[in-house]
């Protein structure tokens, strides 16, 4: 599914002393099956962007199109949007409330016309996708799981609805390195199956490995939008936007300041290693 924002403006607390323009004319088009990383410092409008895209906050100006249809137009069927959009808010582990894992993960399916067998099949598959054994966990209380496990349960609850677009707000912050890798492998896989993914994160290393395109917001304005190698090589601007291009890119920059020739599009560990080896060999001699 494709998603398009056209000149979107959203203002919090309009006409008050606390008025804040969270999105200020943002235009963005994301194609079917794309994986886009959204970055920018705290308060730049990332979460607001996701919520407007999810149909949760009507923008003051501009339009939001899902598969070409204006989701805020009168007469648009909101229930259809709910079936197509999977939204994972920050700290989704805090939203768990049901008595059993099965009830929790199937919650979004409650108002669909799926049969019980179909629902069970979806819950089972969603739990498997996030690494749980359905038979083992289905009757357990979600509240007894650890923080990282609850996060995975919450994700399963979103996936059970089989959304065509996934809007993920900081899904990997607070996950351990292996959990992070597993989660990103899962989003890669869903993306490969045609799901469109927008993922908000501060973790440039993770985005460099998984997203092909990076969007950066600054003060509610789209500051950059392009292929990850291109965006992450704009070093001076990144610093201004409060975005770190990740450990490998930072290291490459340090090497450059010491006179080493390292191209600006070295942003991943695998790309950095040959230069480290070159220097190591020189040092040996």
């Amino acid at each position: 599914m494709s998603l398009e924002l056209r000149e979107v403006v959203l203002t919090y607390a309009p006409h008050t002393a606390l008025e804040c323009r969270a999105l200020d004319g943002v235009s963005l088009r994301v194609e079917d099956g794309e994986f886009v990383g959204i970055m920018g410092r705290t308060g730049c409008g990332k979460s607001t962007l996701l919520q407007v895209a999810a149909g949760l906050m009507r923008p003051a100006e501009g339009t939001v199109l899902v598969d070409g249809e204006d989701i805020y137009a009168p007469g648009y069927r909101r229930s259809r949007l709910c079936e197509r959009m999977g939204v994972l808010f920050q700290y989704p582990e805090k939203q768990l409330f049901e008595t059993t894992v099965e009830r929790e993960v199937s919650f979004a399916l409650r108002h669909t016309d799926l049969t019980m067998a179909e629902r069970r099949e979806r819950v089972c598959r969603a739990l498997e996708l996030v690494g749980f054994d359905y038979q083992k966990v289905r009757e357990q209380s979600p509240l007894g799981f650890s923080g990282g496990e609850k996060r995975r349960l919450a994700i399963a609850g979103v996936l059970a609805a089989r959304p065509g677009i996934l809007l993920l707000d900081e899904p990997i912050a607070g996950l351990d390195p292996v959990g992070r890798q597993e989660f990103l492998a899962l989003t890669d896989r869903l993306c490969g199956e045609g799901v469109t993914v927008l993922l908000v994160s501060h973790n440039a290393d993770a985005l460099a490995d998984h997203a092909r395109r990076i969007v950066i917001l600054e003060n509610g304005v789209l500051a950059a939008d392009g292929p990850v190698e291109q965006v992450f090589s704009r070093r001076e601007e990144l610093a201004r936007w409060g975005v770190s291009p990740g450990q490998a890119a930072e290291c490459a920059e340090q090497l450059r300041t010491r006179g080493e020739e390292v191209p600006p599009d070295v942003i991943r560990y695998g790309e950095l290693l040959p230069y480290l080896l070159r220097m190591g060999r020189r040092r040996e001699r």
């Binding site: 410092r41 705290t42 308060g43 920050q90 700290y91 007894g144 799981f145 650890s146 923080g147 990282g148 496990e149 996060r151 900081e170 912050a173 607070g174 996950l175 351990d176 390195p177 292996v178 959990g179 501060h202 440039a204 409060g242 975005v243 770190s244 450990q247 490998a248 930072e250 290291c251 340090q254 090497l255 010491r258 006179g259 080493e260 560990y269 290693l273 480290l276 080896l277 220097m279 190591g280 060999r281 040092r283 040996e284």
Partner: protein
């Protein structure tokens, strides 16, 4: 003399052995002024351990002494909480007031301190976290790093001997994270506070004096960062990844390039590979 001494702590949230233990026989000591990093993946028991240290969960099995106080005695619980301050992951959950200075005064005022003494404390802790001048601001309107620095100041205002940080940087943007780490470095170097830092970032654990690795409610190993973080086998058993610099060290070694020591940060790696002349 240890400030924290845990002996064979065991804890089950379900109070039943069949449900498994979140802490399964943890013994640990911490010296005054030491910075200890507790490293472990999600669900390894590190938060449960941290919550024992100021008795947010009752001691079920084993012994715990904090600043000479036996944590099993109910009468010691409040004294221990005064000794051990805790900073949590989400800065937004830790404010009680909509004005920074009132938020910071909340703790000391509750302990019955006079207005002048409280004002002086607020001034001092704001300075300690580099936030002087933010007295009249609203904590909710600050950046992530600033919020977390105010949360740390709120704990410092009670002048605890021990500061426990439970993944205090996990939700911050890169700048905010650097700001908080800088404060922690300062506190570490000051040597007055004992710091217990819960994290799953091996890169952050590198700044501690000592690193303890947890998995399955047990302590898998502990030692100086240079020993623990370079121990790939140990980190692997704990479901953790080594810092990028350690990974580079071993990748270089495989190609026959030996560095004088295993670097823990990319800065150290750069210094080793191309020293400033």
């Amino acid at each position: 003399m240890y400030i924290i001494r845990a002996d064979n702590l065991r804890h089950s949230y379900w109070r039943s052995a069949s449900a498994g233990y979140s802490l399964d026989g943890v013994s640990l000591t911490v010296q005054p002024g030491e910075m200890l990093a507790i490293l472990g993946r999600n669900g390894s028991g590190k938060t449960t351990l941290a919550r024992h240290l100021n008795v947010l969960v009752p001691i079920q099995e084993g012994e715990l002494t904090v600043a000479g106080l036996d944590a099993r005695q109910q009468s010691n619980v409040w004294k221990i909480r005064r000794t051990c301050g805790m900073v949590f992951q989400n800065p937004d959950n830790q404010f009680v007031s909509s004005v920074v200075e009132e938020d910071l005064a909340f703790g000391p005022e509750n302990y019955g301190e006079s207005g002048d003494a409280v004002a002086e404390r607020v001034r001092r802790v704001l300075e300690a976290v580099g936030m002087s001048g933010f007295e009249r601001r609203s904590p909710h309107l600050l950046s992530g790093g600033q919020k977390q620095r105010i949360a740390i100041a709120g704990v410092l205002a009670l002048d605890p001997q021990v500061l426990i940080l439970d993944e205090a940087t996990a939700m911050l943007d890169p700048q905010g994270r650097q700001e908080v780490l800088e404060i922690l470095r300062r506190l570490r170097d000051g040597g007055e506070k004992t710091l217990v830092m819960i994290t799953h970032y091996a890169e952050e654990a590198a700044m501690a004096h000592r690193v303890a690795v947890m998995e399955g409610g047990k302590l898998l190993g502990e030692g100086p960062p240079r020993q623990v973080l370079a121990d790939r086998e140990l980190l692997d058993r704990a479901g953790l990844l080594p810092p990028m610099a350690v990974r580079a060290f071993y990748d270089l070694e495989r190609e026959g390039i030996r560095l004088p020591a295993c670097p823990l940060t990319m800065e150290e790696l750069v210094d080793m590979l191309c020293p400033l002349s």
